[in-house]
Symmetry: C2
């Protein structure tokens, strides 16, 4: 197999592309808002596809809006499956510039570096961005990559309705990103995702690269409490059916549960809506979400059962009805040992310690792990901030992560068999 010269990515070019995409859907106070399949997402997609084409890559768009760009391999091995990297470019409503975008643009920086050096690898390099990874507008999150690996039927994903009333299919067609490519194509050899940690571990330990061993399990549930609206000043406490009381008691229990389980148990109630939501009217309805995460499947399942049991008991005590529906559920994932080892080796080859850690957030890589050897590289998030307009990673760390990605992709693309 042909030898590959030492290659160095261009930090300046990488930072320019991050800044440019960060201008699309930019918020006044900093950060960006490119909720999935909005006009802002469309503009971000247009910008990214244009950059892929400018690099001479072949771009395909599939039926759920996933976009894949191919940098061809050497002519004699053109039939080999590509090594894929990538992430997502949709954001939460008050997102930062790096979550997802960094992985996609670093992948394109790797291709730009290979092209500039006139280097073709044994296997093609694919750079992809997947639809609706955040799940902030449509649930479940990681929708595009989940459909890509066959974990969610295409029709079901397309029919998903946002809180604003539109379906995924309506919005995909509106912004012109429901493509002709078959879902799940191209079949890939392996997958590596570069991402900011979105947590405090690397920053607190002063480390610059993290080798992600796996992803914790995620459980999203929406609870709906139905009570009776009544006058707040004339209804004795004993005669109330207050949906709000049940909601806040269950939400408080969810927090206490996380503290009681301890360790890697996370629990968040990030969304609560009371109806009619007036100061002097007892709420007849409360809708709220519960986000539970754990690296151990059994503990995660126990947490779900505890919350549901308490909710039922609390609702009964308040004389209200309680129902719930699952919005998303993913078991913990362990990444491929070969890929994880490669990332550790290339990190150490740069003279850096290679801390192995789990991912707290869900990522497209956990979906790709179902169909091919997959892994992830983390760089630090200052103060662990993410899903926040103040999300920040040092430019030197961003460049270093892209360099590790380059070396890992070359190793994967060049390997025999």
């Amino acid at each position: 197999m042909s030898t590959v010269p030492d290659l160095k990515i261009s930090p300046a070019r990488l930072m320019e592309s991050l800044a440019a995409l960060g201008q699309v859907g930019a918020l006044a106070g900093g950060g960006v808002n490119r909720l999935a399949l909005t006009d802002a997402d469309r503009l971000g997609r247009d910008w990214t596809v244009a950059r892929m084409r400018a690099l001479g890559m072949a771009v395909t768009i599939d039926a759920i809006g996933n976009v894949t760009a191919i940098y061809a391999g050497t002519a004699d091995t053109k039939d080999l499956a590509p090594v894929m990297t990538g992430s997502h470019i949709d954001t939460v409503r008050t997102g930062g510039l790096y979550d997802g975008n960094y992985g996609v643009l670093a992948g394109l920086e790797v291709v730009a570096t290979l092209q500039e050096a006139g280097v073709r690898l044994r296997r093609p390099i694919a750079v992809a961005f997947f639809t609706n990874e955040e799940g902030a507008r449509f649930q479940p999150d990681m929708m595009g990559s989940l459909v890509y690996v066959g974990g969610l039927p295409l029709a079901e994903a397309l029919a998903t309705r946002a809180t604003d009333g539109y379906t995924v299919e309506e919005e995909l067609q509106r912004i012109g990103y429901q493509g002709p490519a078959a879902v799940g194509c191209p079949v890939v050899d392996s997958f590596v995702e570069l991402h900011i940690e979105q947590g405090p571990v690397l920053h607190q330990q002063g480390l610059r690269i993290g080798v992600v061993e796996g992803v914790q399990g995620i459980s999203w549930t929406e609870f709906t409490i139905e009570g009776v609206s009544n006058h707040a000043g004339t209804t004795p406490m004993a005669l109330r059916h207050d949906a709000g009381v049940a909601a806040v008691r269950i939400a408080a229990f969810v927090h206490e549960l996380a503290l009681r389980h301890g360790g890697p148990q996370l629990a968040t109630v990030g969304s609560i809506q009371l109806s009619p939501n007036l100061i002097n009217v007892i709420a007849h309805r409360a809708v709220f979400t519960v986000d539970l995460r754990h690296t151990d499947e059994a503990t995660l399942a126990r947490a779900e059962a505890e919350v549901q049991a308490f909710a039922a008991q609390c609702a009964a005590a308040q004389g209200v009805a309680c129902s719930h529906r699952r919005l998303a559920r993913f078991e913990p994932v362990v990444f491929d040992p070969m890929v994880t080892a490669l990332i550790a080796q290339e990190t150490q080859a740069l003279g850096l310690p290679a801390l192995r850690l789990p991912s707290g957030a869900g990522h497209d890589a956990q979906m790709l792990a179902r169909v091919c050897p997959s892994g992830m590289i983390f760089v630090p998030s200052v103060n662990g901030l993410s899903h926040n307009v103040n999300e920040f990673t040092e430019p030197d760390d961003l460049a270093l992560g892209a360099q590790v990605l380059l070396q890992v992709l070359v190793r994967l693309a060049q390997r025999d068999a």
Copy 2:
């Protein structure tokens, strides 16, 4: 003084007027939505003013939008201050047909009965409806009557901004109800308000008329919690500054406090808003309201202090900032013994028991009580439902309440001195 013949109000005419006004701002599923100073409120005001004029009453509108209609007394006593009755016609977002509207329309039914019989009384009869009694859009509630009695500076009330961004003055001018009459005019001799109980006491005891001895104290506070937004999947519980956790813990405490104090202590958290209110983002802000009510001022003040102390302590424990502002505060009110005795006498004169009870809700009568002898008459609310589209009172009870009002107004208007 001239004797007054036995007069009987017309139940059919009263029910027709309630049904007609109930059509203005009617909701598809029943009930009405005439939030203060909206287009629907404007239409309700237009309908009511037209009815006042049709009865030959002199209508005046003051600078805060309170509307007063006068039915003149006998010529030789035309300088005496009028006996006033009335209430409000604004509603909560999901209101019923009787809250407020009943008191205004029953007052007009009394005038219609007097006019039909060609009866003039020693004192004029004034029928009024006051602006923004509900406080569902602008705080404080009972705004119009509070300004009327000098309890709130006109300029301050006019500058009050709704959650939808408009001020009281902007909306009064938009709907054409900022009138030329001086606030507080006419000066009235006495005030009687007829209202549905909005609570379960009369209905549960099978009583048809309630003699209201006073109104419990009301305390409305808005709390704002400021934390830090962060990723729900990557932020260890110990490193969070979750505004939502503080909010639900404080809201749960408010409910527990009411159960602990027991008796007439009421506590409600009817409104909660998290920001950004997303499933996988820790809330950086939570704004919620606390509605506390008690018939005893000292106990009400203690409840306020307990909630504020717990909120401060809970916020500190969660590492978030907590601030609060008072939206409304009214001490318990005791109605005039002369008026209360008259109501009891006229109720018993109809062969009915006259149960004395406090009002759980705030009413315009508690404001008028600051400037003249005042009292209230209650009729039952089926199942105590109010601030609810299913609010209902039996037609026979509505007619009976109007008859008691007629007799009490005649007694007040005819008395010497």
